[in-house]
């Protein structure tokens, strides 16, 4: 209990401190100490609170509930405050705020919302999430300190408000811990909307026209989710008579399906599933750490987390199947569109949408096996994706570009950074790293359910393989002597190396993760038989050990220039051109814009997913 309260409340302290102290070095120390503390607390929680049964904690004082209502009101005012810049064209954004908060606060004050006796709880899923937020989130925060220094050197036009940026991150932690430990949906709603506000602050950070535009788009899209959530609260209070999440999940499916679907809607909205994918793409204008934070470990994970919570109700319902299909659609569309992208961050964004779709697919199916897979996916995705975002951010700062084509031969120029990036990419798709283990688990889980899901997983996985592999290929091309080395990367290394090591370690230790954390949640590990673990171990061993071969010096190698149809000149990067002078040859990856056109696929997925969303609610009646 004390761990939980510490984790929820402590991040507020550094947030306030960061706003108070303007000195950069003081801010740095605040961040380091606070991150370390949060990390330790998360691990401490993991050590003490894992177990087969969830633990519920009662809070008797009604002051807390009052505080939440007060918080809601303050939040509503804050939202309205940020909307002051808006033109009338965007009238619906304040309207959304007023409607949802008006309703919730009115219900709350009029006492129609039943009280929750045990508003806090912890179970293994919370612990896993806490660990992810604590460890990955804090590494990202540490990285931010170094990154923002460079960022402001490079963007002198952006006003330096890094204190408030860092404060927003800690506020985010506060909200996230609140979400994962709350058992009352009114509480969750409160924290839920804080994340929306934080994301708005982060996205609008550069203060450019584009940043404002994207921030407001994110705002209204996310507020839609909030609206759904508030409706869930109203419906649950009125029809189900409780806003206790645990009780809701234990009720008769037909009775609670609608509020649960509304919560899922909010979850998918936060997880940037189609048709809401646009906000996540727009969020790429923000400084990289915020992308890493929003898209790997925190914000979007809150969305899938809540869906996972709901999955016991979704299981074996038609609406649940539709939820799964929306996830599947996002998985397919995200992966397919990523093929046609050459901006590193956009590829990461689309792959995030895709991977989250896969998790939602699992949540929609809701069988124990699928949930197993989903939890694994959450863990591996958080690690590898955060690593990728941070690495791309550093590459951008070093080379001035995050275009994948400009990363050609990066391994010769910045070997260490590239290796961390390779670990990240391998973690995303290569057996036996995390994502592939999870995908395998998903397949095994899906195969028995229905013949529709496995093809989705298979096709999406293949598409994913394509764009990751070609990116990897770009990185590892050996272009010869290195003209440029990593310089000026300071504290960022902590995060990069930390995440790289964690990515490999988690993969090696995943049977333990399964045994200690997931098994108590969803029962006996049905899939990960001894033999498979053994094989994964062998493969991982190969993967880790074989690169050592790079350090062996081989004899009898005869160096020749690359094959250039005999048109070689003395420089291996050039050939004798048609006009009689040496010409640079180059190789660009395939993007197949015609085949996997972003525009067409995006529009198609929007239409498809909106139709599915409607279907989802229609199915509720069945």
């Amino acid at each position: 209990m004390s761990w939980i309260i510490f984790l929820i409340l402590f991040p507020l302290a550094p947030a306030v401190l960061l706003l108070l102290f303007r000195s950069v070095s003081v801010q740095k120390w605040i961040v380091l100490v606070a991150s370390a503390l949060i990390c330790v607390a998360a691990i401490g929680l993991a050590v003490t609170c894992t177990g087969a049964q969830p633990k519920y904690f009662s809070i008797t004082s009604s002051v807390v509930n009052k505080l939440v209502i007060a918080g809601d009101i303050i939040l509503a005012l804050a939202f309205l405050f940020v909307c002051r810049r808006l033109s009338l064209k965007w009238y619906w954004i304040p309207l959304l705020v007023i409607v949802q908060y008006g309703a919730v606060v009115f219900y709350d004050l009029s006492g129609r919302v039943p009280a929750v006796t045990q508003p806090l709880f912890v179970d293994n899923l919370s612990v896993i999430m806490a660990l992810i937020i604590g460890i990955v989130g804090c590494l990202i925060t540490v990285y931010t300190v170094g990154y923002m220094k460079h960022y402001h050197e490079e963007h002198p036009d952006v006003p330096d408000r890094r204190g408030s940026f860092l404060a927003a991150i800690f506020l985010f932690f506060f909200a996230m811990y609140g979400i994962i430990f709350s058992n009352s949906i009114t509480w969750i709603y409160f924290f839920w909307e804080i994340t929306t506000l934080c994301s708005f602050i982060m996205i609008s950070y550069p203060r450019t026209e584009e940043a404002w535009h994207n921030a407001f788009r994110a705002l209204w899209m996310l507020l839609l989710g909030g609206l759904a959530f508030s409706m869930a609260i109203l419906y649950a209070s009125d029809s189900c008579g409780t806003v206790d999440f645990r009780h809701l999940l234990q009720m008769n499916k037909s009775a609670v399906l609608l509020p649960i679907l509304l919560i899922c809607f909010a979850g998918m909205n936060k997880a940037a599933q189609f048709p809401f994918a646009k906000w996540l793409l727009g969020a790429m204008v923000a400084p990289t750490p915020s992308s890493a934070l929003l898209h790997s470990s925190t914000m979007v994970k809150a969305g899938v987390y809540i869906c996972l919570r709901c999955s016991p109700i979704l299981e074996n319902t038609a609406s649940g199947a539709v939820v799964a299909l929306i996830g599947g659609l996002s998985f397919l569309a995200g992966s397919a569109i990523a093929i046609s992208q050459r901006d590193g961050k956009k590829v990461l964004a689309y792959s995030t949408i895709g991977n989250l779709g896969l998790i939602i697919l699992c949540a929609g199916v809701g069988s124990h096996w699928a949930l197993w897979a989903a939890v694994l996916l959450i863990i591996f995705h958080a690690l590898a994706k955060a690593l990728m975002f941070l690495a791309v951010g550093t590459v951008e700062q070093q080379t001035g570009s995050r275009d994948i084509e400009d990363m050609h031969g990066l391994i010769s120029r910045m070997p260490l950074l590239t290796i961390t990036m390779l670990v990240g990419i391998a973690g995303m798709f290569l057996a036996p790293f995390g994502m592939l283990i999870s995908k395998w688990a998903v397949l095994e889980a899906m195969a028995i359910r229905s013949p529709i899901y496995p093809p989705i997983v298979i096709f999406g996985g293949s598409l994913m393989l394509f764009f990751w592999a070609k990116w990897m290929g770009k990185l590892i091309a050996v272009v010869g002597p290195a003209p440029q080395r990593e310089r000026g990367i300071g504290i960022e290394w902590t995060a990069l190396f930390g995440l790289a090591v964690l990515t490999v370690l988690t993969c090696a230790l995943y049977p333990f993760v399964g045994y200690y954390l997931i098994q108590p949640l969803y029962g006996q590990d049905p899939i990960l038989s001894q033999g498979s673990i053994c094989m994964v171990g062998i493969m991982l061993g190969l993967m880790v050990l074989l690169p050592l071969g790079f350090f062996i010096h081989w004899k009898n190698l005869v160096h020749v220039e690359p094959y250039l149809s005999g048109a070689n000149v003395s420089d291996p990067h050039q050939f004798m051109g048609s006009l009689g002078n040496a010409r640079q040859w180059s190789f660009r990856n395939y993007y197949m814009g015609k085949f996997f056109s972003e525009e067409k696929l995006f529009r198609g997925s929007l239409v498809g997913s909106i139709a599915l969303m409607v279907l989802m609610f229609v199915m509720e009646k069945l």
């Binding site: 395998w440 496995p454 093809p455 290929g473 590892i476 050996v478 094989m535 160096h559 190789f587």
Partner: protein
């Protein structure tokens, strides 16, 4: 213990068998072209010769990818013949292929890079059907484990005719036979010179050849699974399918990537997906 013998057998005998099949392939191909063709042991001569040649490298790194490539191919095959999880087998197989692709990328040569890109396209085209076959096996036998699929006394082919047809379709891609020999080809005269293997020479190329034999045996092993209820029939059908591949190889021009991708996916969805759908309704009412 039985599994151990199978694994050992695969690691030791697969290259021999694969080489012989390759030798026969070349003779049959030659006969189809009204030629006499090389001796049946020619693939072995080739490989031993390549071992004796200079090890040419563009840079000293790309050789390693080939070792990892071979290692994963061995793991994949060993898992298959050891009766392990078929999905894991296919994933390991994909990883193996990935490392060939990465090796080609790492040479930083235009032709091998384009070859690598095309190899990725081939994987994109072929991989879904392979995984779908595994799902098909699972739906019939209730297990992903090769040992249990083999032990199953149902005649899988009766349940999975569409999956089988789809698998045969992508087999052409995996065996790099015409019309799908886009990324590299055993024959010369391809627009990418040798595509993905352009920069690998001497012992490195020998390694790729040997790996190709392992790969052939593994793929034929997957065909065997469809007929595992009767080993004799299974072996005969497997050989017949290989012969069919040679015939297709000799009766087609190389197609372009778009057609390959579209047709392979269509085959996967219609033949594979359709089969599974029908099967699902039969099995679950």
């Amino acid at each position: 213990m039985n599994a151990f013998f199978w694994i050992a057998g695969y690691i030791l005998l697969a290259p021999v068998l694969g080489g012989l099949i390759n030798g026969c392939d070349r003779i049959i191909t030659a006969r189809m072209q009204s030629r006499v063709g090389p001796p049946v042991l020619q693939p072995f001569y080739d490989v031993f010769k390549l071992m004796e040649k200079d090890n040419l490298t563009v840079n000293r790194f790309h050789g390693y990818y080939l070792f990892i490539f071979l290692a994963f191919m061995l793991v994949s095959g060993a898992m298959f013949f050891g009766g392990q999880d078929l999905l894991m087998v296919i994933f390991a197989f994909i990883v193996a292929d990935m490392f060939l692709v990465l090796g080609a990328y790492s040479t930083n040569s235009p032709y091998s890079s384009i070859g690598a890109e095309r190899e990725l396209l081939q994987m994109l085209a072929a991989e879904p059907m392979m995984l779908l076959s595994a799902v098909g096996f699972y739906m019939v036998t209730g297990s992903f484990h090769v040992s249990e699929i083999v032990a199953c006394d149902k005649s899988l082919i009766l349940y999975l005719p569409g999956v089988f047809a789809g698998f045969c379709y992508v087999l052409t891609i995996k065996l790099r036979k015409s019309p799908f020999d886009l990324s590299t080809s055993h024959h010369a005269h391809q627009e990418l010179v040798k595509g993905i293997t352009t920069e690998f020479a001497g012992p490195s190329l020998a390694l790729i050849e040997i790996e190709h034999w392992y790969e052939t045996i593994l793929l034929l092993g997957m065909i065997y699974l469809f007929f595992a209820f009767n080993p004799i029939v299974a072996v005969l059908v497997t050989l017949f399918i290989y012969f069919l591949e040679i015939l297709i190889d000799n009766a087609n021009a190389r197609v372009k990537w778009e057609l390959m991708l579209k047709s392979a996916w269509l085959a996967t969805i219609i033949l594979g997906g359709g089969n599974l759908l029908v099967l699902y309704f039969i099995l679950h009412g």
